[in-house]
Amino acid sequence: MEFDDKVPIYYQIEQYIDREIITGNLAPGDQVPAVRQLALTLTVNVNTIQRALAELIRQGILVSERGKGNFVTTDTMVIAKMKRRVIETELAKTYEHLAGLDMAPAEMVAALEAYIETREEGERHE
Protein backbone atom coordinates (compact mmCIF):
# COMPACT_ATOMS: atom_id res chain seq x y z
CA MET A 1 0.00 0.00 0.00
CA GLU A 2 1.27 3.45 -0.87
CA PHE A 3 1.57 5.96 1.94
CA ASP A 4 1.75 9.71 2.03
CA ASP A 5 5.05 10.26 3.84
CA LYS A 6 3.91 13.61 5.29
CA VAL A 7 0.96 12.23 7.21
CA PRO A 8 1.22 10.04 10.30
CA ILE A 9 1.04 6.45 9.18
CA TYR A 10 -1.25 5.31 12.00
CA TYR A 11 -3.76 7.89 10.78
CA GLN A 12 -3.56 6.58 7.22
CA ILE A 13 -4.16 3.07 8.48
CA GLU A 14 -7.24 4.23 10.35
CA GLN A 15 -8.48 5.70 7.10
CA TYR A 16 -7.67 2.48 5.27
CA ILE A 17 -9.76 0.43 7.69
CA ASP A 18 -12.58 2.98 7.60
CA ARG A 19 -12.67 2.60 3.86
CA GLU A 20 -12.67 -1.17 4.02
CA ILE A 21 -15.74 -0.94 6.24
CA ILE A 22 -17.49 1.60 4.02
CA THR A 23 -16.91 -0.41 0.86
CA GLY A 24 -18.15 -3.54 2.59
CA ASN A 25 -14.87 -5.48 2.44
CA LEU A 26 -15.18 -5.55 6.21
CA ALA A 27 -18.79 -6.12 7.18
CA PRO A 28 -20.23 -5.30 10.61
CA GLY A 29 -19.21 -8.07 12.98
CA ASP A 30 -16.36 -9.26 10.76
CA GLN A 31 -13.04 -10.04 12.36
CA VAL A 32 -10.22 -7.68 11.48
CA PRO A 33 -7.01 -9.48 10.42
CA ALA A 34 -4.46 -10.02 13.21
CA VAL A 35 -2.07 -7.19 13.96
CA ARG A 36 0.96 -9.05 12.63
CA GLN A 37 -0.92 -10.03 9.49
CA LEU A 38 -1.95 -6.45 8.82
CA ALA A 39 1.61 -5.30 9.42
CA LEU A 40 2.88 -7.70 6.79
CA THR A 41 0.13 -6.97 4.28
CA LEU A 42 0.62 -3.23 4.51
CA THR A 43 4.40 -3.40 5.12
CA VAL A 44 4.12 -1.30 8.23
CA ASN A 45 5.48 -1.50 11.75
CA VAL A 46 3.43 -3.56 14.22
CA ASN A 47 3.37 -0.69 16.73
CA THR A 48 1.84 1.62 14.14
CA ILE A 49 -0.94 -0.89 13.42
CA GLN A 50 -1.62 -1.24 17.13
CA ARG A 51 -1.82 2.51 17.53
CA ALA A 52 -4.32 2.74 14.68
CA LEU A 53 -6.44 -0.10 16.01
CA ALA A 54 -6.38 1.38 19.53
CA GLU A 55 -7.75 4.63 18.16
CA LEU A 56 -10.47 2.85 16.17
CA ILE A 57 -11.46 0.91 19.26
CA ARG A 58 -11.60 4.15 21.21
CA GLN A 59 -13.89 5.58 18.55
CA GLY A 60 -16.10 2.52 18.81
CA ILE A 61 -15.64 1.52 15.19
CA LEU A 62 -13.81 -1.62 16.24
CA VAL A 63 -14.57 -3.80 19.21
CA SER A 64 -11.89 -5.78 21.00
CA GLU A 65 -12.78 -9.21 22.35
CA ARG A 66 -10.33 -10.67 24.82
CA GLY A 67 -8.52 -13.64 23.42
CA LYS A 68 -10.41 -13.55 20.14
CA GLY A 69 -9.21 -10.41 18.37
CA ASN A 70 -10.66 -7.25 16.98
CA PHE A 71 -14.06 -7.07 15.29
CA VAL A 72 -15.97 -4.47 13.33
CA THR A 73 -18.77 -3.08 15.46
CA THR A 74 -22.34 -4.22 14.72
CA ASP A 75 -23.60 -0.81 15.75
CA THR A 76 -24.84 0.60 12.41
CA MET A 77 -25.21 4.08 13.90
CA VAL A 78 -21.51 4.26 14.65
CA ILE A 79 -20.63 3.08 11.18
CA ALA A 80 -23.01 5.52 9.55
CA LYS A 81 -21.48 8.35 11.59
CA MET A 82 -18.02 7.29 10.49
CA LYS A 83 -19.11 7.12 6.85
CA ARG A 84 -20.48 10.64 7.10
CA ARG A 85 -17.21 11.82 8.59
CA VAL A 86 -15.13 10.23 5.84
CA ILE A 87 -17.33 11.64 3.10
CA GLU A 88 -17.18 15.05 4.71
CA THR A 89 -13.37 14.89 4.73
CA GLU A 90 -13.40 14.17 0.99
CA LEU A 91 -15.88 16.95 0.35
CA ALA A 92 -13.75 19.33 2.37
CA LYS A 93 -10.74 18.48 0.22
CA THR A 94 -12.68 18.97 -3.02
CA TYR A 95 -14.12 22.21 -1.70
CA GLU A 96 -10.64 23.51 -0.87
CA HIS A 97 -9.34 22.56 -4.30
CA LEU A 98 -12.19 24.18 -6.20
CA ALA A 99 -12.10 27.27 -3.99
CA GLY A 100 -8.45 27.50 -4.87
CA LEU A 101 -9.53 27.76 -8.48
CA ASP A 102 -11.58 30.79 -7.53
CA MET A 103 -14.98 29.10 -7.83
CA ALA A 104 -17.98 30.27 -5.84
CA PRO A 105 -20.05 27.64 -3.99
CA ALA A 106 -22.95 27.89 -6.45
CA GLU A 107 -20.53 27.40 -9.36
CA MET A 108 -19.13 24.32 -7.65
CA VAL A 109 -22.55 22.67 -7.30
CA ALA A 110 -23.45 23.44 -10.93
CA ALA A 111 -20.09 22.14 -12.19
CA LEU A 112 -20.44 18.94 -10.20
CA GLU A 113 -23.97 18.27 -11.49
CA ALA A 114 -22.87 18.88 -15.07
CA TYR A 115 -19.90 16.60 -14.63
CA ILE A 116 -22.06 13.78 -13.22
CA GLU A 117 -24.51 14.08 -16.11
CA THR A 118 -21.75 13.92 -18.72
CA ARG A 119 -20.25 10.92 -17.02
CA GLU A 120 -23.52 9.00 -16.80
CA GLU A 121 -24.20 9.71 -20.48
CA GLY A 122 -20.78 8.41 -21.37
CA GLU A 123 -21.47 5.23 -19.41
CA ARG A 124 -24.84 4.72 -21.15
CA HIS A 125 -23.14 4.89 -24.53
CA GLU A 126 -20.67 2.07 -23.73
Partner: protein, 235 residues
Amino acid sequence: MNEALTIQGLSYRRNQKQILKDVNLTLPDGQIVGLLGANAAGKTTLMRLIAGSAIHFRGTIAVAGETEVALRKSRVSFSTQLDGFDANWRVGQVADVMAMLFADFRSEDYIQLVSLLGLSQKQRIKRLSKGNQRKLGLAVTLARRAQLYLLDEPFDGIDVMTRKAMLNSILQWKPETATMVISDHHVEDIERLLDQVVVIKDQTVVAQEDADNIRAQGQSIETYFESFYGGETHD
Protein backbone atom coordinates in the same frame (compact mmCIF):
# COMPACT_ATOMS: atom_id res chain seq x y z
CA MET B 1 9.97 -2.41 31.62
CA ASN B 2 13.65 -2.57 30.88
CA GLU B 3 15.19 -0.11 28.51
CA ALA B 4 16.61 -1.90 25.47
CA LEU B 5 19.52 0.50 25.31
CA THR B 6 20.91 3.14 27.65
CA ILE B 7 23.93 5.17 26.66
CA GLN B 8 25.34 7.89 28.87
CA GLY B 9 28.17 10.28 28.17
CA LEU B 10 29.69 8.14 25.43
CA SER B 11 32.85 9.52 23.86
CA TYR B 12 35.15 7.75 21.44
CA ARG B 13 38.43 8.69 19.83
CA ARG B 14 40.38 6.87 17.20
CA ASN B 15 43.45 7.86 15.21
CA GLN B 16 43.59 11.09 17.19
CA LYS B 17 40.17 12.05 15.85
CA GLN B 18 37.05 12.57 18.00
CA ILE B 19 34.41 10.38 16.38
CA LEU B 20 31.69 10.52 19.01
CA LYS B 21 31.35 13.00 21.82
CA ASP B 22 29.06 12.93 24.80
CA VAL B 23 26.36 10.75 23.28
CA ASN B 24 23.27 10.16 25.40
CA LEU B 25 20.57 7.85 24.13
CA THR B 26 17.84 5.75 25.66
CA LEU B 27 15.70 3.38 23.61
CA PRO B 28 12.65 1.53 24.94
CA ASP B 29 11.69 -2.06 24.20
CA GLY B 30 9.81 -3.14 21.12
CA GLN B 31 10.62 -0.28 18.77
CA ILE B 32 12.12 0.11 15.35
CA VAL B 33 14.49 3.06 15.43
CA GLY B 34 16.06 4.76 12.47
CA LEU B 35 19.63 5.94 13.01
CA LEU B 36 20.12 8.71 10.52
CA GLY B 37 23.23 10.64 9.68
CA ALA B 38 25.43 11.60 6.79
CA ASN B 39 28.20 9.33 5.55
CA ALA B 40 30.95 8.92 8.13
CA ALA B 41 28.86 10.65 10.78
CA GLY B 42 29.50 7.89 13.29
CA LYS B 43 26.52 5.58 12.83
CA THR B 44 28.59 2.46 12.25
CA THR B 45 30.95 3.39 15.06
CA LEU B 46 28.04 3.77 17.45
CA MET B 47 26.77 0.34 16.51
CA ARG B 48 30.22 -1.17 16.87
CA LEU B 49 30.50 0.30 20.35
CA ILE B 50 27.10 -1.03 21.40
CA ALA B 51 27.82 -4.49 19.99
CA GLY B 52 31.32 -4.71 21.45
CA SER B 53 33.43 -4.56 18.28
CA ALA B 54 34.86 -1.25 19.37
CA ILE B 55 36.05 -1.11 22.96
CA HIS B 56 38.11 1.83 24.05
CA PHE B 57 35.44 4.36 25.00
CA ARG B 58 34.44 6.67 27.79
CA GLY B 59 30.98 6.65 29.32
CA THR B 60 28.51 3.80 29.80
CA ILE B 61 26.65 1.53 27.45
CA ALA B 62 23.95 -0.78 28.80
CA VAL B 63 21.87 -3.22 26.77
CA ALA B 64 18.83 -4.55 28.62
CA GLY B 65 20.49 -3.35 31.81
CA GLU B 66 23.82 -5.12 31.17
CA THR B 67 27.02 -3.11 30.92
CA GLU B 68 29.56 -5.94 30.99
CA VAL B 69 30.77 -6.51 27.46
CA ALA B 70 30.31 -10.30 27.19
CA LEU B 71 26.76 -10.07 28.56
CA ARG B 72 26.02 -7.22 26.18
CA LYS B 73 27.14 -9.39 23.30
CA SER B 74 24.64 -12.04 24.31
CA ARG B 75 21.82 -9.49 24.07
CA VAL B 76 22.82 -7.86 20.80
CA SER B 77 22.61 -9.19 17.25
CA PHE B 78 24.77 -7.08 14.95
CA SER B 79 24.55 -7.39 11.20
CA THR B 80 28.29 -7.64 10.57
CA GLN B 81 28.69 -11.00 12.30
CA LEU B 82 28.98 -12.67 8.91
CA ASP B 83 32.37 -10.99 8.48
CA GLY B 84 35.06 -13.65 8.74
CA PHE B 85 33.00 -16.58 7.52
CA ASP B 86 34.76 -18.96 5.18
CA ALA B 87 33.50 -18.09 1.70
CA ASN B 88 33.53 -21.77 0.76
CA TRP B 89 30.80 -22.61 3.19
CA ARG B 90 27.30 -23.33 2.07
CA VAL B 91 24.27 -21.41 3.29
CA GLY B 92 23.18 -24.45 5.28
CA GLN B 93 26.56 -24.87 7.00
CA VAL B 94 26.39 -21.33 8.32
CA ALA B 95 23.45 -22.37 10.48
CA ASP B 96 25.40 -25.20 12.11
CA VAL B 97 28.30 -22.92 12.98
CA MET B 98 26.06 -20.15 14.29
CA ALA B 99 24.09 -22.62 16.42
CA MET B 100 27.34 -23.83 17.96
CA LEU B 101 28.58 -20.36 18.78
CA PHE B 102 25.37 -18.57 19.72
CA ALA B 103 22.98 -20.08 22.24
CA ASP B 104 20.11 -17.89 21.03
CA PHE B 105 20.41 -18.87 17.36
CA ARG B 106 17.28 -20.56 16.01
CA SER B 107 18.09 -22.87 13.13
CA GLU B 108 14.42 -23.39 12.17
CA ASP B 109 13.94 -19.63 11.94
CA TYR B 110 17.09 -19.36 9.85
CA ILE B 111 15.85 -21.98 7.40
CA GLN B 112 12.52 -20.20 7.02
CA LEU B 113 14.17 -16.81 6.61
CA VAL B 114 16.57 -18.12 4.01
CA SER B 115 13.74 -19.57 1.96
CA LEU B 116 11.65 -16.40 2.43
CA LEU B 117 14.52 -14.41 1.02
CA GLY B 118 14.88 -16.74 -1.91
CA LEU B 119 18.22 -18.32 -1.08
CA SER B 120 19.08 -21.99 -1.41
CA GLN B 121 20.66 -24.02 1.41
CA LYS B 122 23.22 -25.49 -0.95
CA GLN B 123 24.72 -22.33 -2.39
CA ARG B 124 28.25 -21.41 -1.43
CA ILE B 125 28.75 -17.97 0.05
CA LYS B 126 31.37 -16.99 -2.50
CA ARG B 127 28.97 -17.71 -5.34
CA LEU B 128 26.29 -15.39 -4.00
CA SER B 129 25.75 -11.96 -5.55
CA LYS B 130 26.33 -8.94 -3.30
CA GLY B 131 22.59 -8.55 -2.82
CA ASN B 132 22.22 -12.19 -1.85
CA GLN B 133 25.09 -11.95 0.57
CA ARG B 134 23.32 -9.07 2.27
CA LYS B 135 20.16 -11.14 2.44
CA LEU B 136 22.15 -13.94 4.04
CA GLY B 137 23.59 -11.48 6.54
CA LEU B 138 20.09 -10.35 7.40
CA ALA B 139 18.89 -13.94 7.82
CA VAL B 140 21.78 -14.68 10.18
CA THR B 141 21.10 -11.51 12.18
CA LEU B 142 17.36 -12.07 12.52
CA ALA B 143 17.64 -15.78 13.30
CA ARG B 144 19.12 -14.91 16.67
CA ARG B 145 16.71 -14.20 19.50
CA ALA B 146 18.26 -11.01 20.84
CA GLN B 147 16.92 -8.00 22.69
CA LEU B 148 18.61 -5.48 20.47
CA TYR B 149 19.14 -5.83 16.76
CA LEU B 150 21.58 -3.56 14.96
CA LEU B 151 21.33 -3.38 11.19
CA ASP B 152 24.03 -1.28 9.59
CA GLU B 153 22.93 0.08 6.22
CA PRO B 154 21.16 -3.17 5.29
CA PHE B 155 19.77 -1.80 2.05
CA ASP B 156 22.99 -0.35 0.70
CA GLY B 157 23.20 -1.19 -2.98
CA ILE B 158 20.10 -3.36 -2.91
CA ASP B 159 17.53 -3.42 -5.70
CA VAL B 160 13.86 -2.69 -5.08
CA MET B 161 12.58 -6.26 -5.11
CA THR B 162 15.24 -7.49 -2.71
CA ARG B 163 14.54 -4.56 -0.42
CA LYS B 164 10.86 -5.46 -0.29
CA ALA B 165 11.73 -9.03 0.64
CA MET B 166 14.11 -7.79 3.33
CA LEU B 167 11.55 -5.36 4.76
CA ASN B 168 9.04 -8.16 4.96
CA SER B 169 11.54 -10.39 6.73
CA ILE B 170 12.24 -7.67 9.27
CA LEU B 171 8.54 -7.14 9.93
CA GLN B 172 7.82 -10.80 10.22
CA TRP B 173 10.77 -11.83 12.34
CA LYS B 174 11.46 -9.09 14.78
CA PRO B 175 10.26 -10.30 18.20
CA GLU B 176 7.61 -8.03 19.75
CA THR B 177 9.67 -6.91 22.72
CA ALA B 178 12.96 -6.55 20.90
CA THR B 179 14.23 -3.20 19.67
CA MET B 180 15.79 -2.78 16.28
CA VAL B 181 18.14 -0.01 15.23
CA ILE B 182 18.51 0.44 11.49
CA SER B 183 21.04 2.88 10.14
CA ASP B 184 20.72 4.30 6.70
CA HIS B 185 21.69 7.47 4.97
CA HIS B 186 18.93 6.93 2.41
CA VAL B 187 15.93 7.64 4.56
CA GLU B 188 13.25 6.63 2.05
CA ASP B 189 14.36 3.00 2.29
CA ILE B 190 13.14 2.59 5.84
CA GLU B 191 10.85 5.54 6.54
CA ARG B 192 7.59 3.69 6.94
CA LEU B 193 8.98 1.10 9.32
CA LEU B 194 10.20 3.53 11.93
CA ASP B 195 8.73 4.20 15.35
CA GLN B 196 11.47 6.65 16.26
CA VAL B 197 14.13 8.62 14.54
CA VAL B 198 17.57 9.40 15.98
CA VAL B 199 19.79 11.86 14.14
CA ILE B 200 23.56 11.87 14.46
CA LYS B 201 25.46 14.99 13.53
CA ASP B 202 28.62 16.71 14.74
CA GLN B 203 29.76 13.64 16.65
CA THR B 204 26.67 13.42 18.80
CA VAL B 205 22.94 12.73 18.90
CA VAL B 206 21.19 15.95 17.91
CA ALA B 207 17.62 14.71 17.82
CA GLN B 208 15.40 11.86 18.91
CA GLU B 209 11.76 11.99 17.80
CA ASP B 210 8.70 9.83 17.38
CA ALA B 211 8.28 9.24 13.64
CA ASP B 212 4.56 9.92 13.45
CA ASN B 213 4.98 13.09 15.51
CA ILE B 214 7.28 14.37 12.79
CA ARG B 215 4.69 13.52 10.15
CA ALA B 216 1.91 15.09 12.23
CA GLN B 217 3.71 18.36 11.60
CA GLY B 218 3.32 17.80 7.89
CA GLN B 219 6.94 16.77 7.23
CA SER B 220 8.26 13.59 5.78
CA ILE B 221 11.09 11.98 7.73
CA GLU B 222 13.35 12.75 4.82
CA THR B 223 12.57 16.45 4.97
CA TYR B 224 13.02 16.42 8.72
CA PHE B 225 16.43 14.80 8.36
CA GLU B 226 17.50 17.21 5.65
CA SER B 227 16.55 20.15 7.83
CA PHE B 228 19.58 19.36 9.97
CA TYR B 229 21.82 19.97 7.04
CA GLY B 230 20.33 23.32 6.08
CA GLY B 231 19.47 22.24 2.57
CA GLU B 232 22.91 20.85 1.59
CA THR B 233 22.55 17.63 -0.35
CA HIS B 234 24.19 14.51 0.99
CA ASP B 235 24.16 11.28 -0.97
